[in-house]
């Protein structure tokens, strides 16, 4: 079973969720699927290879190990991907921690217009529209997407450090 799981994580374009394995192994008990998965991840990551299996966005995903990035990049002849600007990252941080949040609320925290940054985030699908706030003007509510979790290698929003940690840091810095 572990070998098939490995092959499926390898071919999958998206992180594979544990539930998906239940469909593939309908005759297996959920518990033994979970155990096989855990054993696979542990065993795969313990070997001194070039890849690893990581938990991202609630699923399992195979990637190269970060420590080889220089040689892989040289081989692929790629440049580091288009990184987000600090303005976009700040806007994204506000959305991640305050979601669901409106553009006006983002403006209040950042103290500056953030529509260009928000546009970038929407285009890159890191942010999605969650609905509208039932107040005057019915402004759009924004939140982070699954793509956000994948982009930052997070398993869930709970993996983010708490805001209190950043508040304390801010207190120490100023």
């Amino acid at each position: 079973m572990q070998a098939v799981m490995e092959a499926i994580i390898y071919v999958a374009e998206e992180p594979v969720k544990a539930e998906q394995f239940r469909e593939i192994f309908p005759e297996e008990a959920p518990d033994s699927i979970r155990q096989a998965l855990a054993a696979l991840v542990e065993g795969f990551n313990a070997r001194p290879g070039g890849m690893c299996i990581r938990e991202v966005a609630g699923g399992y995903r195979m990637t190269t190990r970060p420590e080889h990035h220089e040689q892989i990049r040289a081989y692929l002849k790629t440049r580091p991907g288009a990184k987000l600007s600090m303005a976009a990252l700040e806007t994204l941080a506000v959305i991640a921690y305050k979601q669901p949040v409106t553009l006006a609320e983002i403006l209040a925290i950042r103290g500056k217009k953030s529509s260009t940054a928000l546009q970038t985030l929407l285009e890159r699908k890191l942010v999605c529209i969650l609905g509208r706030k039932e107040v005057v003007g019915r402004p759009i509510l924004y939140g982070t997407s699954r793509e956000f979790l994948i982009h930052f290698g997070l398993n869930s929003l709970a993996d983010l450090p708490t805001l209190e940690e950043f508040a304390q840091m801010a207190g120490d810095q100023l």
Binding site: Y10, V11, E13, R61, M62, T63, T64, R65, P66, E67, H69, E70, I72, R73, L76, R79, P80, G81, A82, K83, L84, S85, M86, A87, A88, L89, E90, L92, A93, V94, A96, Y97, I109, R110, G111, K112, K113, T116, A117, T120, H151, F152, G153, L154, L160, P161, L163, F166, A167, M169, A170, G171, Q173, L174
Partner: protein, 266 residues
């Protein structure tokens, strides 16, 4: 412009949405820098507070206001379009300053001093902003790590696959546009100088660092034929500093500024 420790480098750092809008501007250069592509007034205040090592709970408001207004002047000179929030902050600072000059209300003097301090709200706003700047830093670091891993390019693993393909015309066009974009980005040098954008300039600078490890700061400006090109070059260098691809330094004060490429961090 000074080395990486220079006081104002980090303030003018730019984002990926560096746009040179083409509003009406002085000297007929047709160049206006939209400030919303840079940072906001809170960032400037935090920058000043850190640079001057000011206690955030006791901001010398007159001094900070003066500095803030000086920056606004410089921005105007640089043809930077100052957005409304900058003026709102200027008004807020002037208002706080004037309130500080008033004698304290004798009735409430014994009450919580803090609550009556006209600076309190601004302080909380600054702390809140710094909090999210820290969160953004964390995201930046995570992004760096994720940038260093690759997912396998999904290809056809099952060579005998007869699956239905889930590709729309839209995907196809998008793919073609991607190819065209890549193709065109490889031909930067053929582009007329008038059309040099920051992105292209960045590519140009990257190429010169493929050949050289260190170049002088001024060498990037000698060939510039217009003010616009000077500014574009300048912003492109700043962007590369932000991306940590290059760094600027001086051997000694007042010496020629050198630019070196940074080795990719392993």
């Amino acid at each position: 412009m000074c080395g990486p420790e220079g006081p104002d480098r980090d303030f003018m750092e730019s984002g990926e949405d560096l746009n040179l809008g083409s509003g009406p501007a002085a000297e007929g250069s047709g160049l206006t820098i939209r400030l919303d592509a840079f940072e906001g007034p809170l960032d400037l205040l935090l920058h000043l507070i850190k640079r001057e090592e000011i206690d955030i709970w006791n901001i010398p408001i007159a001094h900070i206001t003066e500095q803030y207004l000086e920056y606004l002047e410089i921005m105007k000179e640089l043809n930077i379009n100052v957005a409304g929030e900058w003026l709102v902050m200027a008004a807020t600072l002037i208002f706080i300053k004037s309130r500080m000059l008033l004698p304290p209300d004798p009735v409430r003097e014994s009450a919580a001093e803090d609550a009556d301090d006209p600076r309190t709200e601004l302080v909380y706003q600054l702390l809140e902003h710094q909090k999210f700047k820290n969160a953004a830093e964390m995201l930046y670091t995570r992004e760096e790590v994720e940038n260093a891993v690759w997912n396998r390019p999904p290809d056809e693993v099952l060579e005998d696959g007869n699956d239905v393909i889930a590709v729309t015309l839209f995907d196809l066009l998008h793919a073609f546009q991607e190819v065209v974009r890549r193709f065109e980005s490889q031909r930067v040098l053929e582009v007329a100088q008038e059309e040099v954008t920051i992105e292209r300039k960045i590519e140009e600078i990257r190429r010169s660092f493929l050949v050289h490890d260190t170049l002088t700061f001024s060498s990037f400006f000698t060939a510039a034929s217009s003010k616009r090109l000077l500014i574009v070059t300048f912003l492109a260098l700043l962007e590369l500093v932000r991306l940590r691809e290059i760094w600027l330094y001086q051997q000694k004060a007042f010496e020629e500024i050198q630019i070196s490429k940074l080795k990719e961090s392993a």
